[in-house]
Subunit: 394 residues, 2 copies
Amino acid sequence: MKCLECGYESELSQRIITCPKCGGIMEIKVKIPSNFNFSMLRGRGVWRYRDAIPGNYNKTVSISEGGTPLVSSSFSSYLFYKFEGANPTGSFKDRGMTIAISSALSEGYKVVVAASTGNTAASAAAYAARGKMRIYLVLPSGKVALGKLAQSILYGATILEVNGSFDVAMSTVLRLYKELGVVYPLNSFNPWRLEGQKTIAYEIAEEIGVPDNVVVPVGNAGNVYAIWKGFVELMEAGVTSKIPKMIGVQAEGASPIARAIQKGESIPEFVDSPETVATAIRIGKPVNWKKAIKAIVESRGNALTVSDNEILEAQKKLARLEGLGAEPASAASLAGYQKAIEKGILGKDEKTVLILTGHALKDPDAMLKSDARRILVNPDHVDKIILGELDASS
Amino acid sequence: MKCLECGYESELSQRIITCPKCGGIMEIKVKIPSNFNFSMLRGRGVWRYRDAIPGNYNKTVSISEGGTPLVSSSFSSYLFYKFEGANPTGSFKDRGMTIAISSALSEGYKVVVAASTGNTAASAAAYAARGKMRIYLVLPSGKVALGKLAQSILYGATILEVNGSFDVAMSTVLRLYKELGVVYPLNSFNPWRLEGQKTIAYEIAEEIGVPDNVVVPVGNAGNVYAIWKGFVELMEAGVTSKIPKMIGVQAEGASPIARAIQKGESIPEFVDSPETVATAIRIGKPVNWKKAIKAIVESRGNALTVSDNEILEAQKKLARLEGLGAEPASAASLAGYQKAIEKGILGKDEKTVLILTGHALKDPDAMLKSDARRILVNPDHVDKIILGELDASS
């Protein structure tokens, strides 16, 4: 393990979450076995790739996370969607949570804590419940999508609502972790979570090989790095022979990383009051910014911003052309992909995977923003209405 | 194909949905190939079992439905949950919809119609969108869970809201289908849909063999029959050697089939104004009642009723003990299982699969009925609160 801030190096240890020396973000270096071979793997989902996941687990808490569908586009044979909404709590967060909660239990923790825009909360609450751990969630008051808040309640978490943005909640958890040794932090500054998330890359590589590009919505910025890390490990082991370009997409009102990449700067300018309809990526100070920039730059990728309007239009397009229901943050992938093609950053004939990070059902209010055709009718008149419309359109 | 009402028999035809002679419910008899063998199958999900699915499909519309996780219980090694919330639109309906929409397209239809309590609507809207078909949904006004209504809007369906219960919507669609040849009906009186749903049985048998019992929430009553049918086909082909007992569970306020089974009657007394918190099974006149009673009786199964309170308690138990988020109708499975054990209908040491038909996110309002621990706090005081609680409990 190595600190991205001060360069401190240590042996692999599940006790280490942030740098013991400076408190910085740690990287976990994994060398997968040289005889690693997809055809020899058993089971399905995150733990199928156990050989590539570091750490010792005397207890594992799994709810069959991962193993999500890779859906082909109906309008391009080069385009695929990794539908992470099919995870148990409806987002990719479950992949990291199975590792983090298993790790926390194996290390003897009894209490976990997480800041969240909602998806981390729902996932953490589910895995903590299954692992019989006590959980505290720190959420920005009034800024969590309805489905996600309801999940956290159903799973029985204690919810501490703070005034302010996600970034306030996040720094509260960081402080809690540093000051109270007794709580285990489930946010993505915890590098063990990313070891679960990297299995997105393993699954894509196993199913269709390595694509040319992977497009990822960027919020707290752990996922774009985790997926890149998975591809790097596979190439270093000789299982695959290339790395995809990592394309990060941020909402205009919360885009410190995309702006840094576009300006060629290595340190982003944080956003104090991030705003976007895509609540899952409404983050102004991404804790993993260094990892994200590393993944994007080293993969020769790129980053873009998309407007709220482009996001909602993309959400509708995903639903109405592809039949896929994804939350606004996920739809940012498609909006970014379209913009990247317009700008010549990507080619239409390059094999590209868009990561759809969470289910449309997470945020019913966003779905209701679509134009609706709702007609209140007398049941006896239904056939007249349908026949009338069919006549008019024929 | 054979009519369950008048006994009329016909060759297999995808044009046939209800009995051409009397309008009754048709059964599709399938003999799977004698060389059918799980180890030879390819792919994942519903179409993995193509050899067992009747019909000709020159177009298929798939969004990677099926292939859902079978999750082990944390408190019983004999208990498993089939988590159908992991389907693309969040319910088991997607399994039947891929077959029905593919069939409709293959037969040249351009317009589809469905009545729904919500899940069928969301699924039908998604598959119609992907298949580029026009869709009309007939919904009972004000009685559809928020997530499901929002999905139907996002997918761009035309929503016709009628006053009255689901049963009014259902009979409207039946009439539409019989009077207007031009629309293809997506409700479960369409036997082709059940051919997709039966793959739940194929997946269970492939993963853990044939269990002793399968517990299924019963609304319009197609699913309990479809799953039974899958197990029967496998046994008739010699792939497996037994049939599980099919246990149907209904909500007290909408329980015509359970009451008929309990009284040993072959014809149920329908319920005019069905009421239950479990909107997905709020159905008083199940269109597939004959099929359901057949499956339950021939499998030597049983049927139970559970109260709304038992359903909500089971939903909470699923979430807080198992980490599984299921909508109220799904939780009826667990409530029914518990009651069946209390009543001596099932043994604790019998291998049992509960079908969790839909995702908790489908119905955020139901989740919010759980007791919540929400505290509004100043971020600076979060650590004091947590330390205080930990002290108090240690």
